[in-house]
Symmetry: C2
């Protein structure tokens, strides 16, 4: 299992990125990491990693896409950047997976540019796992495709269902469409068109119809499909609201509890640890021919280590083969997607 890791991507690169790679290699002897970035900056952080040094390579490149760069401009003007180099390795099948905590737009643009898509898939989407009262579910797209067509959303439902089945272990995943009411006539044109696509497709029995914002965390669906704009707002809102509630809850507990204030703090720390976005590793870009994991810009060593394990897990689960197989084994689905074009 060879994974290219963007050593220059993220707020804390390259130090914690390299440390995360070393930790993952130590934990999983099946993982080899190719650190993509400026050799002079990366190499010092490998001191003391002699035990796994044989499974950590360096791929030198001179440029970095910053968080402020326009993705498309950066791809053009910085051809030797660590994200493009990682994608090239994936396209040439030199690695099984790529991982980056860098500019999300550039990660998506890299895949679009090479058109490195699975057969029958026209636009990849970023999938993220969210906790609910019924266990984890998958929400997509959270930012790859801000103005999708109905058929893209249909593909997200299809891929999300396979993800829910193979990775989250849901036997008969239910797909919900993010909307502003449960009635069929609700929402904008995109929502109505997407509903029609699902209802006339072979996925109709898995399609649970509209889902409202308040239903997500109840876990009424295993897959929540939405456009990249709404999905991105949802994902980041959850992050911000969780932080807000933890702060006000902490304050409230400190004034209400008498002798067990410290235990109240322990409880909140447990919650923060359990639901911390840094612990989850990253979000896969589904629909790519290969594994591509996009990490939070603020990822530290722990998040990077988890993202590498996640990449290895997806590759081993043969997620992509399952997606293609499930589409192709079902002629209606292939027809659906062809019709939709």
């Amino acid at each position: 299992m060879r994974i290219a890791l963007d050593a220059m991507g993220g707020d804390h690169a390259p130090g914690p990125i390299v440390v995360g790679a070393v930790a993952a290699a130590r934990k999983d002897p099946g993982i080899s990491v190719v650190l993509v970035g400026d050799k002079a900056q990366v190499e010092p952080h490998l001191a003391g990693a002699d035990d796994v040094r044989s499974r950590i390579e360096l791929f030198h490149c001179t440029q970095v896409v910053t968080m402020e760069d326009s993705p498309i401009m950066a791809m053009r003007k910085k051809p030797d950047n660590s994200i493009s180099r990682s994608w090239q390795m994936l396209a040439e099948k030199k690695v099984d997976a790529i991982v980056s905590a860098g500019n999300t737009g550039a990660m998506v643009a890299g895949g679009l540019r090479l058109k490195l898509f699975l057969p029958h898939v026209r636009r990849p989407g970023i999938a993220t796992v969210m906790p609910t009262l019924q266990g984890p579910i998958v929400l997509l797209d959270v930012g790859a495709n801000v103005s999708p067509k109905a058929e893209h959303l249909f593909h997200y439902g299809l891929m999300g269902a396979i993800f829910a089945k193979r990775i989250l272990g849901k036997e008969n995943p239910k797909i919900g469409l993010m909307n502003i009411g449960s009635e069929e006539a609700k929402g904008h044109d995109l929502a109505k068109e997407t509903q029609t696509l699902f209802r006339k497709s072979s996925l109709k029995d898995s399609f649970a119809g509209n889902i409202e914002g308040r239903d997500i965390h109840k876990g009424v669906c295993d897959v929540v499909v939405t456009d990249g704009f709404v999905g991105n707002v949802v994902l980041k809102l959850c992050e911000g609201l969780f932080e807000f509630i933890m702060k006000v809850t902490g304050k409230e507990l400190m004034t209400t509890l008498q002798t067990e204030k410290h235990l109240g703090q322990v409880a909140l720390q447990n919650l923060v640890k359990r639901y911390d976005y840094h612990e989850t590793g990253g979000a896969p870009l589904l629909g790519i021919d290969g594994i591509a994991i996009i990490c939070h810009g603020s990822s530290g060593e722990r998040a990077i280590e988890n993202a590498l394990h996640m990449a290895a897990k997806y590759a081993r689960a043969r997620l992509n083969e399952m997606i293609v197989q499930e589409i192709e084994s079902n002629p209606n689905l292939v027809n659906d997607t062809a019709e939709a074009e």
Copy 2:
């Protein structure tokens, strides 16, 4: 102050709706309520309200828009419904405000149908007050306009800023545009066009640019502008996520706390009370010539009482006069909106 209250709207109508009206009339001697609905169903709930009976009228009508009704169809096929009757009273200036916990779409459609807009305003938007670490802010639109034009969003920013100033007491309210990144080039076409409108307008100094989902609860802006689809998802997601976090926090506290479990429960009850959507009363439809308050479908007597006080507060604050005055006193704004047409 005369307020028409849709006695038939909401999951619990008419009982708790009528009880809420009586409570509001008792608390505020300046309030008169017109209960709009089926007399035979409404009247029994007025037993025991003789002390305020002189300020509570009944306006009989025979039909109800249900939550399942298509708003536009219902308006056409049920001409004697309580929402349309309320709007008619507002249009004829027989009341200063209307309040309903019924079908939100029908409440919006009622206003659109009569084109009962403030001068220079082309589409009303539902504004909702949200708690943040910096105190309350206003988010709009949360569901009146799911496919707005950039100029509608611009008007929402303008009206939201006046709301933040006059109702929330913010001296120089900052307006943020909901987007998926802070950089100017982020987002879909609507977001980019709206940014341009703000930046070339007289509101440019109040415009703080893009705001991400994670920033809302930090309180970095006093006004968050977005389309009715995203706003509705945000509002309901907050409701669902808050419930989720309260549940998992409760569980965690019950296993972590030893002798002060009851105090942990008290703390959570305080939080639920403080942030409960039922306590806030309702959300104003801004841009209407008059006051229109839309309540949560699950509103009980407490929510209805609060919504009536809110309606009285807005009417007394002369919010609409301020909006029109602030647009007209500033020729650039009137020009901006004319240009945008």
